[in-house]
Amino acid sequence: MLDVALRAKLGDFALDVAFTTADAPVTALFGRSGAGKSSIIAAIAGLLRPDTGRIVSDGETLFDADKHVDLPPPRRRVGVVFQDARLFPHMSVRANLLYGWRRRTADRKLDLDQVVEPLGISHLLERRPATLSGGEKQRIAIGRALLANPRLLLMDEPLASLDGERKAELLPLLAQLPRVFGTPVIYVSHGLDEVLRLADRLVLLDQGRVLAAGTVEEVANRPDFAQIAALEGGPDVFTVIGATIKSHDEPGAQTRLSFGGGTLTVPRVAGAVGNRVRLRIAAGDVMLALTPPTGLSVRNVIPARIVSIGETAGMVEVMLDAGGPLWARISRAARDELGLQPGMTVYALIKSAAMTGSIGLRGQA
């Protein structure tokens, strides 16, 4: 568990944040470019000295301005995977991987083989970094950081410099990391898909401040989250739901998921029964009915209570409680015609096809 509270003045930019990772395996620092994500990473790693504040990891103080504690980076045991990999160009891949391993001999948990195999880099050991692809470099950077036996692994947009294909290749690997190696991860990103796929906890940052922090579902379903996410190309308003694979309906090519509000039927999801997934439902794909409909093709009908009704840009956004939050977007006319009021019970209709491509497998529960 990492507790961070710090302030730093960096030129015109002021950083003033406080958050905890609780016991989450993966905490995402999420926000636009320039929100202060990389500065926070640098401060945790000891590469940037905050003006005030403290950074405490599992009871050990890494930085405390009041007590004049400021451990130098080599003594912090905080691993960093940088966006640009930063492999040492004059060393072989093997020497890169072993650079930290040789220096942190106490309580060593991993050997070269245990890291090289899962990362799929055993055939690269004698190569030089200049001859590697971007994806290969990142895998080696991850391995190098893990072999230095970190208490915590910081990943600063490790996928940002990769193309779509390499990203897709590396993402499942990243999702497995905390479980395979048991090292908690702080993951910096401005990509919503990555965050939904990888993170358990989410710290939402904007202009050097924490706007919200909590589980991914808690933070992602806040009304102001959509506003920030939208600027990064996501859908306008959406709901993030964590669910578990309940069963696969083979002939129908469908998967049944159980979540807080009951069962959802979605197009076939790769993954075993019991695996956790996270899905994203655009508010515009959720329809509302006053009575359970009959004679409709919609697969998912979920009873819900209206929590609040808000208006943005001529559209009405309805926050539902369906055993968990659920956003629906309808027209003003529809709201008036149905006479929707907070507290009413309605039925949320979600087309299963609308959820294609928005479901990410998150590994074994």
């Binding site: 590469l47 691993g79 040492f88 160009p89 004059h90 930290g100 220096r103 942190r104 230095a148």
Partner: protein, 235 residues
């Protein structure tokens, strides 16, 4: 060799090489330390130190030689103590000539090494530190190896400067045959004698060949080193 060159020429060549070798070898650690300090640290008096290091580049060499006499001469500030306590005399010895050459070569070495240290990606140094490397360790495993081409250039420039050094050497170490009569000093001595154009010409030719050879060797080394550091050759 002995058929090609006269004993006097061989003696001057040997002294030139000896003095230049020790000047560079002795000056290199200081040059690297100064370059690192100037490239990677901010401290009070940094500009002053930078200025002092560069002084030999802009001062008349005679001034540097005279300064050395004042400090390290038999009656000098440190030289007297060296002589009385340790029995070491530097002025008018080949060791003194090496010191004079080292001082004259230092700014060139520091400049070349500093530039290449500044060109080393600080991100790599930061990455090494998060992997558990102390500052010293980062310097010796990341910064210095990556700055090696610059160090090599510094060595060659320093060596060439030492070979050509004349003013500071003759002032501080004199022009003593067998001690401090280097190629440059020998040329000067010979030109004082009438009708010695041929002998002076031969010495000049030796100087030219020597300097060219040094430059060629450094060129080849630098190219190989650059390739190795960039990892373009197979490991």
């Amino acid at each position: 060799m002995s058929g090609l060159l006269t004993p006097l020429e061989i003696e001057a060549l040997r002294l030139s090489l000896l003095i230049a070798f020790w000047a560079v070898l002795g000056g290199l650690p200081a040059a690297i330390a100064l370059a690192w300090l100037l490239a990677r640290h901010r401290f009070p008096g940094r500009a002053l130190l930078d200025g002092i290091v560069h002084l030999p580049l802009v001062l008349p060499p005679v001034v540097v030689g005279y300064g050395l006499l004042v400090v390290l001469g038999r009656r000098g500030l440190i030289g007297q103590w060296l002589h009385d306590a340790l029995g070491i005399t530097l002025a008018f010895t080949w060791e003194g000539a090496a010191i004079a050459s080292a001082v004259m070569a230092l700014p060139l070495m520091v400049r070349a090494i500093r530039l290449s240290i500044e060109a080393v990606d600080r991100g790599l140094e930061a990455a090494a530190s998060t992997l558990g490397a102390s500052r010293t360790s980062v310097f010796f495993t990341i910064t210095l190896p990556l700055a090696l081409p610059g160090v090599l250039i510094g060595v060659v420039l320093g060596f060439a400067r030492s070979l050509g050094e004349f003013g500071a050497t003759i002032t501080f170490a004199g022009n003593i045959p067998g001690q401090t009569r280097t190629l440059a000093n020998a040329i000067y001595a010979i030109t004082q004698v009438p009708d010695s154009d041929a002998a002076a010409g031969r010495l000049c030719l030796i100087s030219i060949v020597l300097s060219l050879a040094a430059l060629l060797v450094s060129e080849v080394l630098a190219r190989r080193l650059g390739q190795r550091l960039q990892g373009r050759t197979r490991a």
